[in-house]
Structure formats: C-alpha cells, structure tokens
C-alpha cells in the first residue's frame, strides 16, 4: 500500500513537472522588448510613446490577446546609453518568444543589430535612411528622415509659388552635430539640388548648446528664406526661440522635423513658435487627442486628455503593427512554430495595413523598411498645433544618396 502511494506520488510529480516544461500547456505569450530611455535626455518623448505601446497591449490582452496569445511588454531604461542597451538586450534575449526589439535611439539599434540578427529577430528604430538603403532586419518607424526633408522641400516650393515669388528659394538647415542631425541631408541635399533649391551651408551645433544665435546669424547672412530645424524638443523650440529674439521669425519661415515641438511644448513658447511648420508622420495636436484610441490615455490613468503628449500615438502604432504581424504569423504557422524568423518574414508582408489612421498605411515589404510613406504638415497657430495638409506621400530621397 505504501509502495503504491509513493509510486502515485512520483508519477504525479513527474507529470506536473513535464506539464510545466512543455510550452503548449503554459499560457501562450510572446514578448516585445523596448530598449528605452525613461530617465535621461529622450525620456520626454519615450515615456509617453511607450505608455501608448504598453496601454495598447494591455487593452489587447484584456480582450484575450491575439487569437489567444498574450503580449508581454518589457521596457528597459537604457538611459539612451549604448552600453546599457547592449547589456539589456543580452539579458532579455532569452525571454520566451521574444520577437521584436524596439530601440529608442538609432545608436542603440545599430549596436544590438548583430546580436538581433544572430537571434533572427527584428529591430525597430526611428528613421535613418540607411536601413532602407541596406535592407536587413532593421525597420524604421515611418518615412526615412531624408524623405521628410524632401517632402518639406516640395512644401517650400509650393509655398514659394503661392506667394508669387520668382526664382528659387534658399533653404537653411540647422541641427545637432551628430549622425541623426546629418541624416536628413543624406539624400535630402540631393533632392533639394534636383528640385533646383539652393541650400546654404548647413549649421551643426553640439548637443547641449544653450544658445544658437551664432549659427542662426550665419544662416541669416546667407539670405535664406526658409530654415529647417532638427533636434528633439525642446532643442528645436530653443533654436526658434533664439531666432525669434534675433527677429528672424518675421522674415524666415521655420520648419521642424518629427521631433519638433509637441502641443505641450508650444504652450511654453507660443509667441516664438507662432507660424512654425512641423512635418510629421504621426498625428499631432487635436488630430491626436480627438482620435478614438486616445481614450486609452485616460482609461489607463495617464492624466487629462489635454495633457496627452501626441507621441503616445506613436507607441500605439508600434503596438498595432506588432499586433497585425502576430495575427498574420499565427494564421500562417501557429503558435508553436512562431519565432523571430517568422516575424521577420511577416513584417515584410504588412504592406498596406492600416493603424486606425495614426500614421499612413504600413509600407513594410520585401523591398521597404519604411513604416509608412506619408507625412502631414502642421502649423503652430495661437499656441496650438493645427493640421494644414492631408497625408502626403513623401518623395524617396534615400535612393538619391550613396550609402
């Protein structure tokens, strides 16, 4: 009798152990890793963006996940530090069914890329055109930076014509003296030349600069009609604040890129920023706040809707893209065979999927690493960020540059 009890005990324990190590019996789950910056220089953008991503996954999981598969969101604070990014990736690379790694900074994305490629996963990074030029496992969030610059050149030419001006406009460019700051011109410069637009010598300043008057004065002396300002807010706001002090905003039209002032930033310097045009691949201002998905901001206790940073919608867009890929992959191979390689192949099949209009249709394909092709123009009016265009397909400036 005693022997029988012991035997039953052994069988029971062994059976439970086997069940626990066979994945099919555990909760079906996949992992999304964000190599983020929650406490350093880019935190102002990354915190709300990852909130959007995490909230969307929470909502999705609460509804049962994607065909019963839940998504585990892991956000790691790398402090925009490449060494921490690589270490964090190494720590989390063995998470069950890790499929996608989002890197808040291109340098982090580039540093982990060899490991991600070995693990046959994919990386998402902001907007460097070189990932379109050299197709691989790195995908960018929207149109490449240089494409957005080219779209701005088109906008400038149209504006020039509307104003009845003759000849060609002269454009200035000012940004951080780092690879991001220079990326816009790698193809953007060639596009401007192609369109007959004269570019003044670009001005690059060190990150952390407090005053930009010297650089702006040089551009003014070059008699530019338009100035494109790079940098992550509040840097572009500070540049334009300095331009305002110099009186340049009266005669020169200023532009900002994707990371220009959000409507929270424009509240702080409404006078200096008045009239600034922002090129964006995602919804901004009231376009973002009035979007039905923005209700997740309040639902998950992030605060009042008027305090929602528009980049919250970027995070939701990352999540929706992942959701679409996961759905497609599960349909094609099922949960058991789902891995990074499958997701890599699936991301290339997402061409044309919609993300509730948060950005243009997905443009990922076997020949495209662009998250979308369209941009929208916004303008600061009375302290608000107001839409002044529909979605416009940005020209391909990447192909004009030799990478």
């Amino acid at each position: 009798m005693k022997m029988r009890k012991i035997s039953f005990g052994i069988v029971g324990l062994a059976f439970l152990f086997v069940l626990s190590v066979i994945p099919g019996y555990a909760q079906k789950e996949v992992t999304y890793l964000s190599l983020a910056d929650y406490t350093a220089a880019i935190a102002g953008l990354n915190v709300p963006a990852d909130m959007g991503c995490e909230d969307y996954f929470k909502e999705l999981n609460a509804k049962g996940g994607v065909d019963g598969v839940k998504i585990k969101f892991i956000g790691v604070d790398t402090r925009y530090d490449v060494a921490r990014g690589v270490s964090a990736y190494k720590r989390y690379r063995t998470e069950p069914k890790l499929l996608v790694v989002n890197a808040i900074g291109t340098p982090i994305g580039k540093a982990v890329a060899p490991l991600v490629a070995k693990d046959k996963l994919i990386t998402l990074v902001p907007g460097d055109g070189e990932f379109q030029a050299h197709l691989g496992r790195v995908f960018i969030w929207g149109p490449a930076y240089q494409d957005s610059f080219a779209a701005t050149i088109d906008w400038i030419l149209s504006d020039w014509k509307k104003k009845g001006k003759t000849g060609a406009p002269k454009v200035g460019y000012i940004s951080w003296d780092n690879p991001y700051g220079k990326e816009f011109l790698r193809g953007g410069k060639e596009y401007a030349e192609k369109m007959g637009v004269s570019l003044a010598p670009p001005e690059f300043f060190p990150p952390g600069s407090l005053d930009h008057s010297v650089y702006l004065t040089r551009l003014a002396k070059a008699e530019v009609n338009y100035i494109f300002v790079g940098g992550v807010d509040p840097t572009p706001t500070n540049v334009i604040r300095d331009a305002h002090k110099l009186g340049l905003t009266k005669t020169i039209q200023f532009f900002c890129d994707y990371w220009g002032p959000t409507s929270l930033g424009t509240r702080l310097h409404p006078e200096a920023l008045e009239g600034v045009v922002i090129v964006s691949y995602y919804l901004r201002g009231d376009d973002a706040r009035n979007h039905p998905l923005a209700n997740l901001w309040t639902k998950y206790g992030r605060g009042k809707i008027e305090d929602m940073n528009e980049v919250y919608t970027i995070g939701m867009s990352w999540a929706m893209t992942f959701e679409a890929a996961l759905k497609m992959a599960l349909k094609e191979v099922g949960y058991k065979k789902l891995d990074g390689e499958v997701i890599y192949q699936t991301y290339q099949k997402l061409t044309g999927i919609e993300r509730a209009g948060l950005q243009g249709p997905c443009a990922y394909s076997p020949t495209s690493r662009r998250g979308s092709l369209e941009v929208k123009f916004y303008q600061v009016k009375a302290g608000k960020v107001v839409s002044i265009s529909d979605w416009i397909k940005a020209p391909d400036a990447v192909s004009l540059h030799k990478f």
Binding site: M3, A41, D77, R79, R84, G85, S87, K90, G208
Partner: protein
C-alpha cells in the same frame, strides 16, 4: 499487483527521463577558458578629468566574432537610475576578433550615467548639478560572451578624488 507496480515504476522512469530531456539545456557544453583585464586598474572619481581617461577592457579566449559585454556588478546599497536592485549594469561592449581577443572602451555616456550617475537635461546635455559619483571602492566587472555564454571577471577600483 506486481504488474501495477511494474507499470507505475516504468511510467515514473519514463516521465523522469522525459523531464531530463526537456531540461537538457541545464547541461550545456563546456565553456571556453576566457580572460578579461582592465586598464587602468584604478580610476580617480574626478570630474571632468575622468572623461579624458580611457578605461579599456581587453580579453582573450572568446569565441571569434562574438560580442563581449562588460557589466559592472553593483554592491548592495549602491543605487543606479534605470537599474533594478540586484541587476548588473552594462558599461562597455566589444567584438572579439578572429583570434578571440576583444577590446572594449567605456564610452562617455556610460561614465556619465553609471560612474557619475548624472541627470540629463532634455537638450541632450548632462546636468553638472546632479553629479553623484558611485562610492569609492573595488567593483567587480563581469565580461560575458553573447554567443558562448562564457564569463570572466576582473576588478576596477574607483578612488576618491585627491584633495589638493
């Protein structure tokens, strides 16, 4: 009775063997013999001088072309922004060459974030008012190979700034 006993014992053995097969990853192949060293072995916690002092890790015996990550082991009580208690913090990384040798220098951001635990302004500049150097002492530095899983450790001593 005997047949029941035989069946249950047989089934138990079968399930135990199955468990061991499932846990085969618990018995990985032997790891290569690897080394890591750091130059200099002592660094003064003096800002901004430390930014001009190259802190370089080198090592041998790593799998060719593998990435080697250097993590600083945080002693109990040393808090670090962005790092959960009990976690190590990445401080450098490098790639082994064909001969299995690697070199990795601590980048400026890691010196600022990890050695000086600095806060950042949103204009991408460190905020000097927030400099909060780690306590002086001997810190363990752990090098690990991303492919081989091999681990080697060394120590780096941080000394208090010399008052002049």
């Amino acid at each position: 009775m005997n047949s029941f006993r035989t069946t249950t014992v047989g089934l138990s053995l079968f399930l135990l063997i199955l468990s061991l097969i499932a846990c085969s990853t618990l018995f990985p192949p032997p790891k290569p013999k690897v080394t890591v060293a750091v130059t200099p072995e002592k660094v003064e916690l003096k800002f901004p001088d430390i930014m001009r002092v190259p802190i370089v890790f080198t090592g041998t015996g790593w799998t060719p072309k593998e990435m080697v990550v250097i993590d600083m082991v945080l002693p109990p009580g040393v808090e670090m922004k962005g790092v959960k208690p009990g976690e190590d913090v990445g401080i450098a990384f490098g790639q082994a060459d064909e001969a299995g040798n690697f070199k990795a220098e601590v980048p400026p951001t890691a010196k600022l974030n990890t050695i000086f635990r600095v806060g950042w302004t949103p204009i991408l500049a460190p905020d000097p008012k927030t400099l909060n150097p780690i306590p002086p002492g001997v810190y363990t530095m752990k090098a690990s190979g991303a492919d081989s899983g091999a681990v080697a450790t060394t120590t780096l001593e941080f000394t208090a700034p010399i008052k002049k």
